[in-house]
């Protein structure tokens, strides 16, 4: 949203080059101990580690500075930092390297860009942005758009600010213009027709409608005093964090940030990440070594499963899944709606056509829109929680649970277990008989008599899965690095890889539909499905019918249809049907027949371009053009990374820029794609080539991060008293999913959930392992000494924890690591707010058992990505013995 690609901007090893590391929304040492290795290295070299977290965790234990905050108040803290940096760095010429910050912000971000005059900020509308529809609980972002000149072909920086034809007159660009374009020979004319007039800017950052001034006003109320009152973090600690982080940036120094699901699992999760992005832009910490924002993700290839999405809302390479909710009826409509003409995304027609070729092979032709008509559309939000709700209502008949355990890991897990009982069939693939597999015989609902086994008509299949070392293939880690793992042994007995399962299931289904002539079956009939292994591939193994993962990788990478020669990279993809490319961002991973760069294992001391393959194009730090000054030279010798050597961009990494595009290259108003951008625009995926402090598009809950309390909170919103919670969050109002109102006296304590080093997620891969189970043998609830005293709870007492959804039991772990907070209740009174923490790994099966913590959580979600809110809710406690 801020920079253009939904992934970590840097690579883990590079943290060692950071002079300051701000970890927030993550318990990095506990959840990613090996990534924390690089933090420890940075510390050994003198780097400062700052940890901001509701609990004093194993990460805090190693921090130079620990700032406690109340769960859910992150944007107040970040907003406070942004405000402090604007005041004390960007508007303070005496701050060291003042010029650097000004130059970075002016040249590389949209800070100077002027926003349309219809825009109203939360300052003006008491906590809401313009365009809000209270009935729909959603925004129309029309008023958030840039101000644009109507004059084309002139230098926009010299142009007067006349607004574009969007507001009146015949539309000269956009959807209709695109649809009118002749695409019989290719989609370039369509893309060209979409190019808007250039946006207006004020390089002095003085225009009151420029992003910088909007930002400054927006965050003015996030003062250190307010931070202290709303987050509970003592003011001097906050100021120390601000100073430390700011003083460790600049041309000679860089600071990095790391976050994880403790940000994303909020109704304002995406905005928290955005706030971090803004802070890093203000401090010039993007695209540079030791800088960036590292998303610490939780599953071995969760990045890969987002890139090759087993996610309803997108198809490969972050292209939108066709939907009936937008103008996507034909391929042309789809492209006219989706293509971003003034960024690298101008090439999307090539990627889309090559994707369709990968789906339907030779049957996809220009004449039939490359089979676009066969491709399914989505009709709404089909994400996890809405699907489980639909299931609970009997609208879902069949389900695959492949390496996932929603009976424990799902929110409001009791609801999800009850939903499973309404399925006709359920296929579970895993290692152990986990809670989802056996919900019909031993779930709490069955044991309590709420459900009867005999009444549950679900046909359940447990298919044993293979260990990752029992099959080959690639994982994409949190730094976008695609790594190939070899097969070490055959899986035992009937255990098979998931790839085997899907491939064999596909073969059977293709067989079942082979003779159908119904239009609805053409998609599956025409689906290309040939991944038969070669004789050599299966020669060493007992299992002879595993598909060839290399063949699949080659399809993902792409190849020329005519001679099946692999594409060297996504630059070779075509929109005329002559190339197949399953996932354009992965193109280049298999650049020649027999060359699998994911299996490349030649590390070096630093960037290790020879180890694996990082998308895109093996770049390790994205937007690394920003590691050089606008003139192409490194900002400093200490932080050199990628630079212009006179002929080309060079450096330690693959430049994230057109390799021979000189820094002096002017922007071409009549160009499309990167031609439209100048030689100083590092963010090539963005429509204006710049990082976005202000996001005119892409977000449904506001262009700027704004603090709202969690959906359930013990206090009102101190910053915007008229708007307690996010105005746009998604919520399923149902009897089995009640929410506590703000400041509900029945649930006075903040509850946050978290993970432990010793366990893994819903516990399937840890609770059955004796070596791990013994290390954290039971569910516990962390309670501060003060709260324990207040509630008469002693260490190891059994405690009942209740939320509006459910109540569970846990053993008390009374500790000084948690502390009470003194918080303004949003109405001017300071009160003590207690927090408790529950790790959520447990269920009722395995060697180590405990209540399902997710029984407590609710179905309330971030409006952008449908991520639930698991990190801040409310609860009550009582001692049971």
């Amino acid at each position: 949203m801020s920079f253009g690609r939904g992934a970590a901007t840097t690579f883990q090893q590079d943290i060692a080059n950071s002079d300051a590391i701000l970890i927030m929304g993550s318990d990095m040492a506990e959840c990613h101990p090996v990534a924390f290795r690089w933090v420890a290295k940075a510390k050994e070299r003198g780097g400062k580690l700052i940890h901001v977290d509701p609990r004093f965790t194993r990460t805090s234990a190693l921090a130079n500075l620990y700032a406690p905050i109340r769960a859910g108040s992150d944007i107040v803290f970040l907003g406070g930092l942004i405000s402090w940096v604007i005041q004390n760095v960007l508007e303070n010429p005496s701050f060291p390297n003042y010029d650097f910050y000004r130059q970075f912000v002016t040249t590389y971000t949209n800070a100077p860009t002027i926003v349309g005059d219809q825009f109203r900020d939360t300052e003006d509308l008491e906590g809401l942005f313009s365009g809000y529809d209270p009935q729909k609980r959603s925004y129309d972002n029309a008023t958030w758009q840039y101000d644009r000149t109507v004059i084309r072909g002139t230098d926009p920086r010299a142009a007067d600010s006349e607004r574009s034809g969007q507001q009146g007159g015949p539309q000269q660009y956009g959807f209709d213009a695109g649809m009118a374009a002749d695409t019989s020979k290719g989609f370039d004319p369509l893309v060209r027709a979409l190019v808007p007039p250039r946006e207006t800017r004020d390089e002095s950052l003085q225009n009151p409608r420029c992003v910088f001034q909007i930002l400054k006003r927006h965050y003015a109320r996030y003062t250190p005093e307010v931070v202290e009152k709303a987050t509970g973090c003592p003011r001097d600690v906050f100021l120390q964090v601000a100073r430390t982080f700011a003083e460790n940036s600049g041309p000679e120094r860089t600071g990095s940030m790391a976050y994880a699901v403790a940000w994303t699992q909020h109704t304002t999760g995406v905005q928290m990440i955005r706030a971090a992005g803004i802070l890093q832009q203000l401090l010039g910490n993007i695209g540079r070594p030791g800088g960036g924002i590292l998303a610490l993700r939780g599953h071995a290839t969760i990045q890969g499963s987002t890139d090759n999405p087993t996610l309803y809302h997108s198809i490969t390479g972050y292209m939108s899944q066709p939907t009936v909710l937008k103008r996507h009826e034909t391929l042309k409509e789809y492209l006219a709606t989706e293509v971003q003409p003034t960024a690298y995304w101008a090439n999307q027609p090539k990627f889309m056509v090559s994707y369709l070729k990968a789906m339907y092979g030779d049957t996809a032709t220009r004449e039939n829109d490359f089979g676009y008509a066969w491709h399914p559309r989505i009709v709404g939000d089909h994400s996890h929680i809405p699907m489980m709700v639909a299931m609970a209502d009997g609208k879902v008949q069949g389900m695959f649970a492949i390496g996932q355990n929603p009976a424990v890991g799902g929110q409001n897990a009791g609801l999800q277990r009850r939903a499973l009982a309404r399925l006709n069939w359920l296929v579970v693939r895993d290692y152990f008989e986990h809670e989802t597999a056996s919900f019909w015989k031993d779930s709490p609902e069955v044991r309590s008599g709420q459900l009867k086994t005999a009444d549950i008509q679900t046909e359940v299949f447990f298919l044993p899965a293979a260990h990752p070392a029992e099959g080959e293939g690639t994982f994409t880690n949190t730094q976008r690095l695609i790594q190939f793992k070899e097969k070490a042994a055959d899986p035992p007995d009937d255990a098979r890889t998931d790839l085997w399962f899907t491939y064999q299931l596909g073969k059977r289904l293709k067989e079942l539909y082979a003779n159908s002539t119904a239009p609805r079956d053409q998609g599956i009939r025409n689906l290309t499905w040939d991944y038969e292994p070669t004789a050599e591939e299966v020669a060493p193994w007992r299992i002879k019918d595993d598909p060839s993962s290399v063949k699949i990788l080659k399809e993902i990478n792409g190849y020329r249809v005519a001679d099946r020669v692999p594409l060297a990279g996504f630059g070779e993809a075509k929109d005329d049907g002559s190339t197949v490319c399953g996932n354009w961002i992965y193109s280049g991973v298999y650049p020649q027949e027999g060359r699998n760069l994911a299996a490349n294992r030649n590390p070096d001391g630093y960037v290790s371009l020879g180890w694996g393959f990082a998308w895109p194009a093996n770049r390790r730090i994205m937007y690394n053009r920003a590691s050089a000054r606008p003139d192409g030279q490194p900002w400093s010798d200490r932080k050199r990374y990628v630079w212009w050597d006179g002929q080309r961009w060079t450096g330690y990494d693959v430049p994230d820029f057109a390799v021979t595009k000189a820094p002096t290259t002017p922007a071409k108003d009549d160009g499309i794609g990167l031609d439209w951008q100048s030689g100083t625009d590092p963010f090539i995926m963005k429509a204006d080539g710049r990082a976005w402090m202000f996001a005119p598009t892409g977000l449904v809950d506001g262009p700027l991060p704004t603090h709202y309390e969690a959906a359930e909170s013990p206090v009102h919103n101190l910053l915007y008293p008229k708007q307690d919670s996010s105005p746009a969050y998604k919520y399923f109002a149902r009897d089995d999913n009640p929410l506590a109102p703000i400041a509900d006296a029945r649930f006075p304590y903040v509850l946050t959930t978290y993970r432990l080093t010793e366990h893994y997620l819903s516990g399937v891969m840890s609770r059955w392992l004796p070596w791990l189970a013994e290390l954290q043998p039971e569910l516990f609830i962390e309670i501060s000494v003060e709260l324990a005293r207040e509630k008469g709870i002693a260490n190891l007492d059994r405690v009942r924890v209740s939320s509006p959804r459910a109540s569970i039991e846990a053993k008390a772990l009374v500790t000084g690591r948690l502390r009470p907070f003194s918080i303004d209740d949003g109405q001017g009174t300071m009160r003590t707010v207690h927090q408790v923490g529950l790790p959520w790994h447990w269920g009722y099966k395995g060697l180590s058992t405990g209540s399902v913590v997710n029984d407590l959580t609710s179905l309330v979600m971030d409006p952008n990505v449908s991520m639930h809110e698991g990190k801040a809710l409310v609860c009550n406690l009582e001692r049971i013995g």
């Binding site: 060692a16 080059n17 040492a29 506990e30 101990p33 924390f36 420890a40 050994e44 070299r45 003198g46 400062k48 004093f56 194993r58 990460t59 234990a61 190693l62 406690p68 003592p234 100073r243 430390t244 003083e247 460790n248 070899e486 027999g594 060359r595 699998n596 299996a599 030649n602 590390p603 070096d604 001391g605 630093y606 960037v607 371009l609 020879g610 050199r640 050597d645 961009w649 060079t650 330690y652 693959v654 432990l756 080093t757 004796p770 070596w771 189970a773 013994e774 290390l775 954290q776 043998p777 039971e778 003060e786 260490n795 500790t815 000084g816 690591r817 502390r819 003194s822 060697l847 180590s848």
Partner: protein
Amino acid sequence: MSSLFPGLPPLEPRAAQLQPTPPTLPNQPAPVTKEPTPGAVTGTGPSSQPLPPQPQVGTAPVPGQPVPFTGTGTPASPVTFKRGEPVGFFTDATLCIGCKACEVACKEWNQLPAELGKDGQTLPMSGQSYDNTLHLSGTTYRHVAFVENFDLSDPNRVGGQWSMMSDVCKHCVQAGCLEVCPTGAIMRTEFDTVYIQQDICNGCRYCVTACPFGVIEMTEQGVAGKCTFCYDRLQSGLTPACAQACPTASISFGPIDQIQQRADARLASLHQEGRTKAQLYGRDPSMLGGLNAFFLIEDSPEKYGLPVAPQLPSRNNLPSGLLGLAAAVLTGLASMLAFRKHRVETVAAEGEEGGAAHAS
């Protein structure tokens, strides 16, 4: 440099501290046989022109050079060590994140069982912070101690600390267990480590009583168990499992003089940072001749379960031997006296064998 923090001086690159010596082990381990991967390539750099030297992150010795398989791990650059030269562990509590990777990696390599209840389920949690292992045992060779140090009267807990330390057998230069072992099962290896040969041990448990650190306990096989210092790995030139696994270099492994240097440097930098409570435990010969596994801690040793002044059991050999001897002499004399005194009477009564008795 930030004015807020006087700051650590950047450590010398490890390569400067650890002089690589050619491996001298006769028994090199199996190298990773890279499975033939189609078209593995080298040198995929962005440009063929020579670049300025890369900043070095972490460990690799030379940019662009593959990291050798053997002996890498933590800390940093490839650790080279030789037979006949002492090696050791330096466990730095200020870098420990309490992840317990050392505990599991040790159990994995040595194939040790978890400590579960009779029903196969886990035992109850201890309630002592995140420590559920609690102590070293015959099947737990690494144990991470968790010490919570927070001022509970201060709601803001200013200066609060949570420190963790991975405990292990100290492999003492003067080892109590080794002294007392009556079967010779406990031996000193060519790496100066202390090793229990479990196929010789007969389970007398004397070593259990002798260890000043409470390291040794019995296994289910009836023999004594403790850290082997991965003797098998050492002999093959491999880093011990715990040190290799440790993510934050809290456990450093290497030739003893090199890790002592590392420890000294680390201590100095912590002191410079103002963390004056930091101290080395067992680094100097004053403690049992020096511990081959020594520690950097930031609190008093007892907090981590370490004795302040560990002693060899053999310190008692002399006093108790002498007292026993004295008692034996006294017993002999007293008995002699008693027996002789009454003997006179009986001689008077029977009057025959006096001469013979007096002959002694």
